[in-house]
Every structure is written in structure tokens, then in C-alpha cells.
Amino acid sequence: MSENFNHAQIIKDPEDNYKILGTRPVRHDGVDKVTGRAVYANDVQLQGLVEAAILRSPEAHARILSIDTSEAEAHPGVLAVTTSADFPDLGDKVANLGEGPVNLAHLAANCLAKDKVLYKGHAVAAVAAQNVHIAREALDLIKVEYEPLPVITDALEAMKDGAPLLHEGLLTNLVPGGGKAETPSNVSDHHHFKRGDTEAAFEAAHIVVEREFTTQTVHQGYIEPHAATAHWNQDGQLTVWASTQGSFSAREQTSEVLQVPISKVKVIPCEIGGGFGGKIPVYLEPVAAVLSRKCGRPVKIQMTRDGVFEGTGPTPASFMRIKLGVDETGKMTAGEAWLAYDTGAFPGGVIGPGVMCVFSCYDIEHANIDGYDVCVNKPWTKAYRAPGSTHVAYAIESVVDELAEKLEMDPIDLRLLNAAREGTKRVDGPVYPRIGLIETLEAAKNHDHYKSPLEGPNRGRGVAAGFWFNIGLKSAATAHVNADGTVTLLEGSTDIGGTRTSISMQLAETLGIAAEDINPKVADTDSVGYTDITGGSRVTFATGLAAVEVGKDIISQMKGRAAKLWECEAADVEFSDGVFSQEDNSISFKELCAKLNTTGGLITARASVDPQGFTNGFGVHICDLEVDVETGKVQILRYTALQDAGKAIHPSYVEGQMQGGSVQGIGWALNEEYLFDEKGHMLNPTMLDYRMPTALDVPMIDTVIIEVPNPSHPFGVRGVGETPIVPPPGAIANAVKNATGIRMTDLPMSPPRVHSAIMENGNGTS
């Protein structure tokens, strides 16, 4: 397996002495996925299955005066038509759905609009028919009368006095603090943090840099469109086959929107074709369920690609003003950030992590942060890989780069001087535990990439750091030990990138057996304990921990069996390296499994965990690029991503997360953006014109994994998946500056923008 796979450099913890962890077994679901047999949500086939389609609003902001579905209902082949009138009235109920509170009325009104449409593409009605073509024909027969309202798509405009209001009674939440503003506006949240005396500190600073930045709306861009199938049986039992990052969350959302008991809803998680945060909310599940109830058949809905772009939650556009002061040595003394993110159609976006991430890589004594979530007539924004963090990292890392230039300091040295470390108090209050930013910066500085000269005209190098929290949340696992020494593992975490295997490896390490001897299944919501979403870089950490706890339970039960065999006390049985022993007796895990049936039966073990000890991930990226100054096009020449991963359980999947996140970040930096016209219509809802990177747009992405173990996890796991998207826009902007002398303060750095900046600076050739 040497060949050309080119594994990452891993800077290991010297204590590390694992047998299974750190190896690279083939994933358990692999053969199904390379032979086309794996069942994704749109692959579900059921007896009597019918298909549905969604009618979406042609207006970005309008009152719905009436909806007439009679012609659609009469169309041959149509089985059911639904609108929000079929949903129960939810008032203003807020439910805590595991990953955070959700306003159920908003959730339901986003699935099917109630009295207003708030963005172009907002779902208005749905039709189930014998096939999707008939369903789409029927959509044309639904008559919706709209009263158009003024459209606003820019957050700064929407914040102005007198701006048209999306939600008439919306009072700004003052966060953190629980208070509310007194007059309605489009601002859903105002976050504010302050410490020290920034005014005096800026006054005293040696150099102060202040810059404004903007970024545009970008989409997670998963290749699989959302899809769901629902069957609402005559006995009231609702079964949902879903493409979701969290089957339990999908179950709760569905049960709450429809006001049916949780026990009546079963969600069967299908294989999922990417999520990146975008497949946490439900869009289709309640709609398919209502249609199924109406027609008595299982109903499948798959979104169209333009439906995905226009009707699901991208991540927000932003405006950011950053001010940073340093003393003569380069020590950062004062920081100020003013941030406005658009949340899209409904309140509750990702400004929270934005304000907490903006200064998270640095130790800054005096700081002042204001952040606003602002409602506009665009799709309701949702999480996208390290939600809210990439925006601010682009801004702050650009400013840090400029300070390094002015100080005539190496940009990594400046970061090292100011880097957050264990004990650093964050601006939002908490103090960092053991983190690995320093180690990651040092590894970057010592990397061949950073040390090798970059030659040639219009070429530049940039570096940037990035941060993500990572989370813990709840996970469960159940294991059945088989008589042949293999173990069947049931867990509830949707596997988006090989987590069946990274979880199984932790159980295998605990039991001292091979990863291949574990047979993992992602179970449905009736078959395994409550498990939160696949997100927040938590699965290998938390569900892995559940597997470790299961392993401990198995060992403890098996010690009892060994004690029976040897007629001793269970407490006297030892277990290590897959062998049970007591005095002169010893028996391997596998041998003891063969004796389980005669010592009390086969063993089942289970665990539910709610770990609190998750810790943060830091990444540092180095980028070389060349700018075609005649066209403004940027070509990435070399790219290295370094990250503190805690323990890399399956290094290939850690590298994969780092590479995939980097390339998403590169896309965000260079070409991806939602383009809107003045009516709030998205102009580019296709994969042709929403330009995600192709294989030809990027080089190989080198990776370095720095293993600074998390002391709160038995194997030191930290969480990896989100941090890698954070540094790229900053690293690329800094490299463009290095190549051309121009600081790009607006994303994306698309060819026309870069070219126009070059012309303004007089460096271009025409």
C-alpha cells in the first residue's frame, strides 16, 4: 500500500503506542460505495412509491393572498397537494433540538411558506403524483396570488432605519444577556463583547491597521440534492428515509413540525451524499409526510439542483470592519471588530460563532466586538463547515498579514508572538485548555514549503491561521459480541466521511482486536440510543467515546465470564492487549468469545455519553499562487495544510478532511458566490455558474497532522473536520498581496475583481 497514496507527515505525540489507531484500514462500507450498491436517500425503492415536487416562490418578498390548488388536484395522475395549511399551528414555540434552539414556527414556515414568502425559491406548495413529471405539470396548475413587497438583500441596507421589515414584530436579541431591543428591526441578534480599554490601547499602539472586508453568500455544495421519503401508515406510524446529518434531529424536527409523538416517528438514515452543515435542518421530511398521509402511499421528494441553491440554507454574506493595534515588538494590544452577517429570511444565523472566532487565534488584552445577524430576502442561512469562522478569519488574517508587513516581521513569527495557548483568556471569557496553535505554527515555519524559495513573476506566498471550537454532544452505541470473536456495532452517527471506521477502530483498540473484526452499522432511530448530529467535528470524538465505553463494558462483562471459567473473582481478572488473564490462566478475546454461549450467553453492551471535554482545533495553511495579471485569474500552485488533530484515528480520513476543507475554502476565496439581481433572484443556481473547484483548478493538497492529544478523551481525539475551511481565503488573499502588491478586501477574488484591482493600482498590462 505504499505506492502513490502519499500519506501526510504526522508529528506524533511521543507517548503514542497504539496498535489500531493511526493505521489505515479500508472503510467498512467501502465496497458498497465503489460498486454502486450503497443506498442513498434517492435510491430508496418501496412498494407503491410515488414522487413529489415542490412549488417555489418566484418572488423574493411578497404576501401570499391566496393559493388555489383545485386544478392541480384534478390533474390526472396527481395523488395529493399540500400547502402550509396542512401543518398544525405552532405559535412561537422554541424547541431545543440537540444542536441548538430552533423556532418551530420559522422551521415550519421555511418548509412551506405561511402568509409571506421571504425569498425567491421559498417553498409554497407540493404535489405528489404517479411520477415526478406529472407532479411538475401539476405545479404549473397551482395558482398563487402574490402581493409583492419591497425586496432587500444587503445586510447593511437592511439595518438602516426605515428599511422594509421582513418580520414585523422582530425585536433584536441582545446577546449574550437575554435582553431584547425595544423597537422592531431586521436585526435579529446583536452580540457584544468588551474587555479592557480599547480606546486608550489604540491610542498607545505603535501601529494600527483598520480595514473593511466583504464576503458573499456561498453554498455547502454537496453533490447529493436533499431527498426524503415518508410513509405515514394508517396506524399513525410515520417512517422517514432521509439524507440527514442527524436522524434523531430529523425525527425531532419532523415530530415537532407535525405535532406527532416522537415514538410515532422513525427516521432511517440513508447514506448521505455530503452535508457540511447544510443537511441538519429538515426541508422535505414534513412535506413528504403530509403528502403521504393524504394519499396513503410512500412519497419521495428529491430537490432539483436549483431548489438546493435557492431553497436551502447557504452560509451568509458578510460585512466586517477590523481594527488591530500592536506595540513596537509586534505584540497585539488592542482589537476591535464590527461584523454584520445576513441570516437570510429568518432570524438566527451564525454571527455567534463569528464574534467568538474573530480574535480566537490571538491573545489580545483590550478588545471590543460587535456582531449583528440581519434578516434579508435571501434563503435562511445555515451552518457551513465551521460556520461563521471563515468570514472573520479572512478579515483578521489579512489584517495580521498587513501588520507583519508594516513591522517587517515574518508573518508566522508575528502569529507565534501573539498566538493563543493554554491559559489564554478568550475575548468572550473562557480560558483555553491545552491547544496546539503554537505547535502548528512552528510546524508551518519548519515545513519545506515555507522554507523553499518561490520564484517567478506575479507569484506570491501567503499564510493564515484558523480556528474552530469543535463540540461534544450526545452519542450512543450498542455492541453485540459474537461467538466467533467479531463484534457487531450499532451507532447513530450518519457516516459522511468514514466515521463507521474511525469509531470501530476505537472499539477495536479498546478490545485488542482488528478493526475488520468490528461490523459497524448506522442504525435507525428505533434501534440505537439517542445520538446528536454528525457535525461540529464531533463524531470521532463523541461517538468514538461511546464506542470506547461500550468496549469497557464488554471487557467488564467478559472478565466475569473468564472468572467463571477459572473459578476466581472477576476483580482478579486482568485484561490487556486483547488477552484476559489471572495468575497462570490466560485466554484471548476470541477464545473467550467461543465460550460465551456456555457461560451465560452472548454479550450485549451499550453506552450513552454526553462528553464535556471537547477541545478546539487550529490550522495553519501555506499557499503559493500565480496571478495572470492580464486577466486577473489566480492559479494555486502549491498548498499545504497543517492542523492540530489531537490523535488522528484514521490518518487518511483526517487528511481527507483537511484536503476537502481546504479546497472548499479555495472555492470560497476565488470563485464561489451567489449572484442576485435587483429583484433578489439568484442568477446562478446551477453547478455551471456557481463555480465550485474542479479537479483541474487545484493542486495536490499537502497535509501535516500535528498530534497534540486532547487530555479529555481516552485516545486524545480533538475533532478535525471543520477547521480546514477556515484559513484558505486569508492565506490566498495574503498570497495575492505578496504576488501583486494588492490587498483584496472582497471575496470572491474572482478574475474580474482581481483584474480591476490591478488596473486601479496601475500594475496591469492592458
Partner: protein
């Protein structure tokens, strides 16, 4: 999309009869990479789809006795760039065939389809223009021939009347000391629609140091692909140098009257005309002097 009738006639006469009978509700299906999308998105409607791929003339490459080539209207792109003789004779055309969509699109899409779709941003049309291609059109009134540069009349519109169909594209024999190149600018390196495209063809005078004749055509800078008349005339007799080509590029900008849209602002597109004309002329020059004629796999930084 509404259901429609599907017919796959085996002869041109049958096809023309069907098209004439059904008038504006009939649509021709060649590679399908545009028309199927347009029908699906409701941009066009069809009562009848006429698949022309069973008609031998539409699917064949025929080298004529005069040394020229007839390309059947539905011959897919991959057939062209995998044919060494075609690549060597008309490299601007195979440049464009190699970048229309990805490989999967090139497995189906045809130059004839690209032409009849008549997008201002079509990649193959400037290439066909500079290679002096002519359209062989069959219709109820018989056959007629129209130069490619006169074929498109507006975005999505062309000279075909009801009942007419494109049969093939006729290319003249290749002369000595000539070479051609098509280039486009796109933000990504593949899978994109031209922000601006430029085809260049030139023939060198004796000694290979001067331009004896040049042809330049542009895409995505006007309602139809256009010929850069003034620039190509100016090049005649000029030394075949970077400086001449840069100046030709500047002059070619006058032929551009682009709009601003989501794929690029107008002034940027006009600017790109100069850059692309210069680069395409350089590419054509290299080929005229015997350089490699294979479609250039994008490499390094000059990817357009």
C-alpha cells in the same frame, strides 16, 4: 417538461418532412446537451423531437476530393479531437471541441448542435468562422449553403427557417504555412461558459516571418459571435511578432460590444478580447510554423 413525440428518421428527406409538417413545435435532437436542458427547464417547448443521429450524413466525417472536410452536423466532439487528421487540419476546431463541457458532454455534443443553439458564447463558432466553415442546410425548398459567420442572427436565433436543418459543416482544404487556435477565458479551468473567446487563423508569407492572411473571430462579446474585421485586415503583411499580435488585439476590441452579465462586466470582456486575440494569434503562429496541433491541455497559468 411536457411529454413529446420522438422520431428518429433515417434520411434527411424524412427529417425535413417531419420538421416542415410540425413547424415550430418540432425540435432537432443531436447531442442533446443543450436541448434536453432547455426543455427540462421550460426554456423551450417541443411537441416533437426529431433525433437526427440515425441519419448517416449527420454522423459522418467525409474528406472531399478537394482535400476539404465535411463534418456531419451531429458528429460528437470526441470524434473530432480523437481524429489526428482533423486535429492537424483544423486545430482551432478541435481546441474548441476539447473544452465544450467535460468529457461526458463531449461524448454527445456536436459542433452542429453548438452552432444551431446559437449562443453568443459558443466555443466552436469562432473556431468554425476562422477555419472558413460553411453550413450545408437542407429544407423543404432544397439545399442551401451559408457561411458560418452569417449563420447566427441573435442570441439563440439563426438563419434556419421552419423545416430546415443543418446537415453538415464544410471546411475548405488546408493551405501551407497556416495554423489556427481557439482560446477562451473562464474563471475555472474547465466546465465553464466563455467570458470571452477568440479564434485566430493565419497564413504566413514566405520565410514564415510575416502574416499573409489572418482571420479573427470572437465569442461572448456581441449578440452573435463576430468577426474582428478591422484587426484581421490590419494584420495582413505585418510581421508575425508579439507586438503585432498585441496591436491586433487592441484593434479587435473595436469589434466587441459586450453586455455585462453574471459571467463578466462589459469592460472586462472588452479588455479580454485584446488578451485572447494576442494569445490565440501566438498559438496559431506556433502551429503555422509546425508546432504541435493537439488541443492544448491547460497547463500552468495560461489556462485560457
Amino acid at each position: 417538461m411536457r411529454d413529446f413525440e420522438y422520431k428518429a428518421p433515417a434520411t434527411i428527406d424524412e427529417a425535413v418532412t417531419l420538421l416542415a409538417e410540425r413547424g415550430s413545435e418540432a425540435r432537432v435532437l443531436a447531442g442533446g446537451t443543450d436541448i434536453i436542458v432547455q426543455l427540462r427547464e421550460g426554456l423551450k417547448e417541443a411537441g416533437l423531437v426529431v433525433d437526427v443521429k440515425k441519419i448517416p450524413e449527420l454522423m459522418s466525417l467525409t474528406w472531399r476530393d478537394d482535400g476539404g472536410l465535411d463534418i456531419g452536423g451531429a458528429v460528437p466532439c470526441h470524434v473530432l479531437y480523437n481524429d489526428t487528421k482533423v486535429v492537424n487540419a483544423y486545430p482551432a476546431i478541435t481546441d474548441s471541441a476539447k473544452i465544450i463541457g467535460g468529457w461526458q458532454i463531449q461524448g454527445r455534443a456536436s459542433l452542429g448542435g453548438n452552432l444551431c443553439n446559437s449562443s453568443p458564447a459558443a466555443d466552436s463558432i469562432p473556431a468554425l468562422i476562422v477555419e472558413s466553415a460553411a453550413c450545408r442546410i437542407a429544407g423543404p425548398e432544397g439545399e442551401r449553403h451559408v457561411p458560418v459567420q452569417e449563420f447566427c442572427t441573435a442570441p439563440g436565433a439563426n438563419v434556419l427557417t421552419e423545416g430546415e436543418m443543418l446537415v453538415s459543416l464544410a471546411l475548405p482544404p488546408v493551405g501551407e504555412s497556416s495554423g489556427s487556435r481557439y482560446m477562451r477565458f473562464i474563471p475555472r479551468n474547465e466546465m465553464d461558459i466563455a467570458v470571452t473567446g477568440a479564434g485566430a487563423w493565419l497564413r504566413l508569407g514566405e520565410g514564415g516571418e510575416t502574416v499573409e492572411e489572418a482571420r479573427l473571430a470572437l465569442s461572448a462579446v456581441a449578440p452573435t459571435p463576430v468577426v474582428a474585421d478591422e484587426a484581421q485586415a490590419w494584420l495582413q503583411g505585418k510581421p508575425a511578432t508579439e507586438e503585432s499580435f498585441a496591436e491586433a488585439g487592441d484593434i479587435a476590441r473595436k469589434a466587441a460590444a459586450p453586455i455585462s452579465d453574471m459571467r463578466g462586466p462589459a469592460d472586462y470582456r472588452t479588455h479580454l478580447v485584446g488578451v485572447l486575440v494576442k494569445r490565440a494569434l501566438n498559438g496559431a503562429l506556433g502551429r503555422a510554423r509546425g508546432g504541435d496541433r493537439n488541443p492544448v491541455t491547460p497547463s500552468g497559468i495560461n489556462l485560457c
